[in-house]
């Protein structure tokens, strides 16, 4: 993937958009990305959305978004792959550029959860993850995370407070993100004593689902330099899968796919993990963020929660985690979340020294499929 860059990003603040339909929401974010990229002629559109079909909102979204944007022609691909939807949209767009079949692609994701009752959204999510395991056991995604959290606490003798400290960090960092669903710090006490979603997890251990859309315009580095566009560079990526159904795994706490994806991504980028300035975790739950930290190699097994608790990944440290608030504070528009993470990385590069590197981690389900991108700043400045 040498020489692939993003030259535009666009996103809406995660939240509840009662008056907007899913296609307009996507078009708002996409238009912003196209404006930033100076309105290039886009050859292909890749839209990720986990639940738009399952919730009866609109299937095959990509062609509707394309039409709304006034793209008269050209490829429009709709990818529905849970939390990995927009990550796979980005990857497919990169493939299209690398195959030589496109000069500019528009990639991203959109999700609309406020059109449905929360319990209907939960039901759609469990069918999306693994119908056989979740539907017959009554497990929700938060329930599965809660089972992992209790296992983790038992196995490593770690307190719940330490796991939840990742949510506190997310909220602390989210204050600076104009697109975050929640922009206020929370105390550990408040997080611990909040209502339970699935014991021992409270609402502060669970990333809130929200409506959202985020898109990026991708092209070649050569083209970006030619056009004098600022860019974020894709230096390497990795994709891997863990076993499904999840009951067939020998160790629930080992996010093998995330580990493999990160190792491949870093090696392709030829960057050591110590050179990273920031890492964006797919922390749909405090515990899954902790397990991802360990899988990515930032913490040893069983010490991820300790490390977060001790402040090792705070904003002022060598490697900062979830610098824009992570899934907990920014919010979690499922199929669009990966695109948000990449937009946020791009925002960081606009403001910070350009010779930094960041790692962005995404997944569907519980490490079912993991995608890791290593990105760096660049451009004319």
């Amino acid at each position: 993937m040498e020489g692939i860059v993003a030259v535009g990003y666009g996103l809406v603040r995660v939240g509840e958009y009662w008056a907007k339909d899913i296609v307009s929401l996507a078009a708002d974010a996409a238009s912003m990305a196209l404006d930033m990229a100076k309105q290039p002629s886009v050859d292909a559109l890749y839209v990720g959305s986990a639940l738009s079909g399952a919730l009866g909102i609109q299937g095959n979204l990509a062609i509707h978004v394309a039409d709304e944007l006034g793209f008269a022609d050209g490829l429009a691909v709709n990818i529905s792959a849970g939390g990995a939807s927009s990550g796979l949209a980005v990857l497919s767009g990169i493939d299209r550029l690398l195959s030589g079949s496109a000069e500019y692609v528009l990639v991203g994701g959109v999700e609309k959860v406020s059109d449905n009752l929360p319990s209907d959204v939960l039901e759609a999510i469990l069918i999306d993850i693994d119908r056989r395991v979740l539907k017959y056991s009554g497990l929700t995604d938060a329930g599965l995370a809660a089972i992992m959290a209790r296992l983790y606490m038992e196995e490593y003798g770690v307190s719940k407070e330490k796991i939840t400290s990742l949510s506190v960090l997310d909220h602390e960092n989210g204050v600076n993100n104009p697109y975050a669903m929640f922009r206020r710090a929370v105390s550990l006490d408040m997080a611990m004593s909040a209502p339970l979603v699935a014991d021992p997890l409270t609402i502060f251990d669970v990333a809130p689902y929200g409506d959202g859309a985020a898109f990026l315009v991708l092209t070649t580095k050569e083209k970006a330099l030619e056009e004098g566009l600022d860019y974020m560079e894709f230096l390497g990526y990795g994709v891997a899968r863990n076993r499904v159904p999840i009951s067939h795994r020998s160790n629930l706490l080992s996010f093998d796919a995330s580990a493999e994806a990160a190792s491949v991504a870093l090696s392709r980028a030829n960057i050591s993990i110590d050179s990273l300035r920031f890492v964006e975790l797919f922390d749909n739950f405090s515990i899954t963020g902790v397990l991802a930290l360990e899988a990515l190699g930032l913490s040893g097994s069983g010490s991820g929660a300790d490390d977060v608790w001790s402040g090792k990944f705070n904003l002022d440290r060598q490697v900062s985690v979830d610098i824009m608030g992570g899934l907990k504070a920014r919010g979690h528009p499922i199929g669009a979340t990966g695109a948000y993470q990449l937009c946020e990385a791009f925002m960081r590069f606009e403001e910070a020294p350009r010779r930094e590197y960041g790692l962005v981690h995404m997944m569907s389900g519980f490490d079912d499929q993991a995608i890791v991108f290593v990105v760096g700043g660049g451009g004319s400045a």
């Binding site: 319990s119 056989r132 929700t140 329930g143 979603v197 014991d199």
Partner: protein
Amino acid sequence: MPEITEWRDRIWRYRLIGSRCGGCGSTYYPPRNSRCLKCGGDLEEVELPRRGKLLSYTVVYQAPTLYKYSTPYIVGYIELLDGTRLFAMLTDVEPDEVRVGMELEATLRKLYTYGESGHIVYGVKFRPAVG
């Protein structure tokens, strides 16, 4: 009409049917149709032991629509006597009585009812083992 998918899965769900590998003895639940993940060996269907112990659990307060009238309810991560691991709802036990490590046994219970058709779906839950 999701009832048909539930009906198709009824045998393995009612009778706790899993897959066992002829090569290395690994077992899987729900059953796999293809090969062993560990050694690539052939799998055969097998009735799994109905006793096991609790490895971890949760109490669900925010439930999907099908289970919304059952909250709060307990879901366990269970290791059967032969080492097979699975997730199932616990029954005949209160949240404050549940302990990691407790012995459990399988029992057939109602899982949920479809509102429109009134169709009831049954499946295995686990309760504290007697004796």
